[in-house]
Symmetry: C2
Subunit: 627 residues, 2 copies
């Protein structure tokens, strides 16, 4: 067990991405500045015409890295990130700032001077809804209010597609082309996402904006199947390893590579203080599983858990700024026997804790019986529900069984109760599911949960590859994302084996960005294909640096290229290291195009005609041969 | 450029897999011994009853590693592998051994004493069909002959499933359980694969057995959608890098991790001698793209290629023992203009070479016009066609376009001609295709190519992740394998960036074993789920060593585990490194089961009953709460 280390700036990664700059798009309805990343490209050398070039428009991409990649921002991990949303929240006039924190446990920790050395220094007292007020984005949306968060999201999701269309002009037919997708009933606007559309989706419960009023550092983002598919990265310490410093850097690192939300699953020491450091320094929403900390408070004895203790934990975490809680309220007493004959029983930690409590007391799950009281807490801080799948399958054998689907129906009932309270809700799903049984999960979720966003772990499509479960699960994640899952919970190569280190976190995040983007392409999300087109055009034109810079991981792409051909010359060569000049198909294709041009066959029609005549002879000759 | 190094035994990996032994199943019809790998498992400790255990039956898995993992086999890379099939071939009485090799180029190389230092030493003169004979497995199958190759394959594909059923007895309901698959019209026998079934599939052209009579070292394997999904690994040197020694070790290394065939795509120096070393030491079929070597012979000038030179190259390689040739005979003159407006033009090397030749001479592709002469060569050695997809899409934008599908129809016509000559044939496909457009490729291939086996590269489901294209493509490969593709051509992390090293080859192979196995599970291939069940049972029972040993890559699984908890004690602990004891859901599930037992609720019924009563109260209470 390491000694606790509190974060210092030198361990936090802050460098910008290569050839990239932070751009800020201003709002129309609200005085907001929406952060994006712009990748500048080199010019295209016109083949065979020395010195002649044509420019390539820069590419704007969705950016989850926060202020860390903006060199103009001052980063001080001890002060935390700028409180972007605080004025928006206060100006709504429905919150009050408390004199002190409300939870007993939180106060104990605050008054324990032995913890001073590892406590985040710049704590301000929490906000809470004024009595009788509901501060959830769902509540505002239902009242017809377009919040700054909603406008921020509309601008963010569009990724400057309007500017793109201007820049492209004639080029648009090449770079702007996109395949008609197959969306399975998702209805993303073809042209442009408006703030009003965001409001409507939130009001309908089809999308959620995790945005605790006590996490103003978070840049607004949305989870719903009519928006870009999102990914979550899990971090957190455990009884056996890790320090606060490492966990904060893991969070910043995961956001850098594309994590849209972070779940802090800490189960070790000083969970409260660790969480404070993470929330204050993370630009994306934070999720937790409060039952983990509650269990720590009773020294791991599930049977000693009580509603009162759990309630205090919810308030403790809500006032720190956790944006969504995983609540395993669907693990009902009568469902537990359905798991007895499984190959891998109950593999969800939260699910197994609740199952043990239910059996020990022979009572119904207190998260279920106290569900409406939980709703009262959620709406006072705008914490969203992530209704936990405590009975998810832990092996291919247990996929889609009675226990799993019984719980899913109950989550559907609880969704209606949460919505009655205007509490935002997403539904957790999969685990281990073979490819041909994935679709059924999405169909049942849409049916039972009235289109509340689905949030799935993988699913892993086979059990036989420990050490590679980021891949076994990316296959299932890409498919279920295509079918309609709104957020994909990543799996790292260490799944089933150990705790992820920084490399594992990056591998998991990049792998899931691939799955999410593959899903966006298959759904036909407007503009999703542009980055693929731009990268492929760069590849075809041997603009190596552009190919690296447009990729999800420029560092690795460049490093792999340099392993084979380190020379800088290779990065401007009109062939590549795989084949050498004679075998370069891209070079030969260029020759083909030039040949066509030189022979006045540069229009499709002429080319078609010229070729057709010649090939007709051979077709005839051919047909003789083949008689 | 490295100096050529010829292989020595010390660079070849020969160690057996952990807890594994080679087993040989004897044939009924022929005196054959079919190699498989048996993984022995530890006993299950009966939870809560100290010292009591129950045994776990060993697991037999498909084994492509050849003699290298059998400690009883003597390996001498300079002598090559045992010539397993030579007696089978000779005893059929339809081949003659030549006095010398037939190709002019081959003889030049043989007589060039400057090459002696890098020449494989133990060359014997090649076999060829006697005049008028056809030695293809397809020819035998049509005549109703069940060859030793066919029986070997039947036994190999079954993986001792019969023995399994005996061993399991009562356990079978747990470990033997398998989900009903969805096979899209594939018709694998539910029970057991017979030699006669293999013959029928080959006779129908639905499956091929790549088995050049000059590659007797190869262990028989089959490619067809009613059998296990297979994977291919590409190796080979290039103008810029690599040595013979490295390429031989890459081939052995790829087979070790699961490559069912190897393609030697060498484009550099001494291609002829490199290939000889690889074939003599590889226990799986070898494929090549002969046009690559032909182009080297004309110093990279595509326009200087001639039919005569190409023909000599086919004979040269057929007499060395290449089992299948990629032939780009579908790149027709009239299809070339269809690629002019693509984002990435023609990305297949062979396709672009032929396109350039066609344009330079303004003539039809000579591989198309001489196709029947090629068939005559193929059937004299039993070389199988892999009809190349020279116009496959190199980017998401170019997926499923007119050029790609025009070529596919032509490949269908050529398949009929090949079959007329009893030449075995597979069809090459995909490249870059978004998820929602993958199925169309399979549908069109089945329609146009009369169920000839499909062999696809990936497809990659997005272009934006160079450095991770083993993953972008594993998503597409798993899906198209499920839909009916018989063999998946791997993609390594170096795709688009550089040449794969040993680590890349392993990453590519393991990733594609995952895709192929996920496809087998989704198709419901008989017995495919057993390994998943066995591994998951081991995981649930904290049999760490068994979990490692049953995985596709035991070394990496063990290494990742030890990073977090190195102590040997951790490998027998009843919890794992991710959560520690309090949070171990598997441990808690065991408690749940024990609780049920202790309270006489160990039968589902009793448990159901006991719980139902209690939960009924709460349901009622609940319904009040929620009114």
């Amino acid at each position: 067990m390491k000694i606790e280390k509190v974060p210092t700036d030198h361990v936090i990664t802050t460098s910008p991405f290569p050839a990239s700059r932070k751009v800020y798009v201003t709002g129309q309805l609200h005085p907001i500045k929406v952060a994006m990343r712009e990748i500048s490209l080199t010019d295209t050398k016109i083949y065979g015409r020395f010195g002649e070039t044509e420019p390539n428009a820069p590419v704007t991409v969705y950016d989850t890295s926060g202020p860390y990649t903006d060199p103009d921002m001052e980063i001080d991990v001890r002060k935390g990130l700028q409180r972007l949303r605080e004025s928006w929240i206060v100006e709504r006039g429905d919150v009050e700032q408390l004199d002190t924190i409300s939870s007993d446990y939180g106060r104990q920790r605050l008054n324990n001077t032995e913890l001073d050395y590892l406590r985040f220094g710049h704590q301000s007292t929490p906000y809470r809804a004024k009595p009788g007020q509901n501060v959830s984005q769902l509540h505002y949306a239902k009242k017809g209010i377009i919040t700054p968060e909603m406008e921020y999201i509309a601008i963010r999701e569009n990724q400057r597609i309007d500017l793109l269309k201007e820049q492209l002009n004639g080029q648009y037919d090449v770079l702007g082309q996109q395949h008609e997708g197959h969306s399975f009933g998702a209805n993303t606007p073809k042209g442009y996402i408006t703030p009003e559309f965001v409001r409507q989706e939130v009001a309908a419960g089809r999308a959620v904006i995790p945005s605790n009023i006590n996490h103003p550092e978070s840049e607004p983002m949305i989870i719903g199947r009519n928006f870009l598919v999102k990914i979550n990265a899990n971090i957190g310490n455990s009884a056996v390893t890790s320090s606060i410093e490492e966990e904060v850097e893991k969070a910043v690192w995961a956001c850098r590579w594309g994590a849209d939300t972070i779940m802090d699953l800490s189960t070790g020491k000083n969970i409260h203080e660790t969480r404070e450091w993470i929330i204050r320094n993370t630009p994306v929403p934070i999720g937790t599983v409060p039952i983990y900390q509650a269990l720590e408070k009773v020294n791991g004895k599930a049977e000693d858990l009580t509603w009162e203790l759990f309630r205090d934990t919810l308030i403790e975490q809500a006032e720190q700024g956790v944006d969504y809680f995983t609540i395993h309220a669907g693990v009902l007493l009568r469902y537990i026997p359905l798991t007895a004959k499984r190959v891998t029983g109950i593999v969800s930690r939260g699910g197994s804790i609740m199952a043990k409590w239910c059996l020990a007391h022979h009572k119904e799950n207190f998260l279920y019986t106290h569900f409406e009281e939980i709703c009262e807490i959620m709406k006072a801080y705008d914490v969203a529900f992530s209704l936990g799948d405590g009975l998810r399958p832990g092996s291919i054998a247990d996929a889609n069984d009675a226990a799993q689907f019984a719980e899913l129906e109950t989550l559907g009932e609880l969704t209606q109760i949460a919505w009655k309270h205007d509490v935002q809700t997403i539904i957790e799903g999969p685990g281990h599911v073979p490819m041909h049984m994935i679709k059924e999960n999405m169909n049942k979720q849409l049916k039972h949960c009235a289109e509340a966003p689905f949030y799935t772990l993988g699913p892993l499509t086979t059990d036989i590859a420990p050490g590679y479960d980021h891949i076994t699960s990316a296959i299932g994640a890409a498919m279920i994302g295509w079918f309609g899952t709104a957020m994909l919970c990543y799996v790292t190569p260490k799944e089933h084996l150990g705790l992820p280190n920084k490399k594992d976190v990056k591998d998991g995040v990049i792998t899931y960005k691939i799955a999410a983007h593959a899903a966006d392409l298959a759904k036909g999300h407007p503009g999703a294909q542009y980055r693929d087109n731009a990268l492929s055009k760069a590849r075809f034109e041997f603009r190596w640096e552009d190919q690296f810079n447009l990729s999800l991981d420029p560092d690795t792409a460049r490093e792999f290229h340099d392993e084979t051909l380190p020379a800088d010359g290779a990065k401007v060569a009109h062939f590549c290291s795989m084949c050498g000049p004679n075998f370069c198909s891209m070079k030969i294709t260029q020759d083909v195009r030039d040949y066509a041009k030189d022979n006045g066959l540069d229009s499709d029609e002429a080319l078609q005609k010229g070729m057709a005549e010649k090939s007709k002879e051979f077709a005839e000759k051919g047909s003789e041969i083949y008689l």
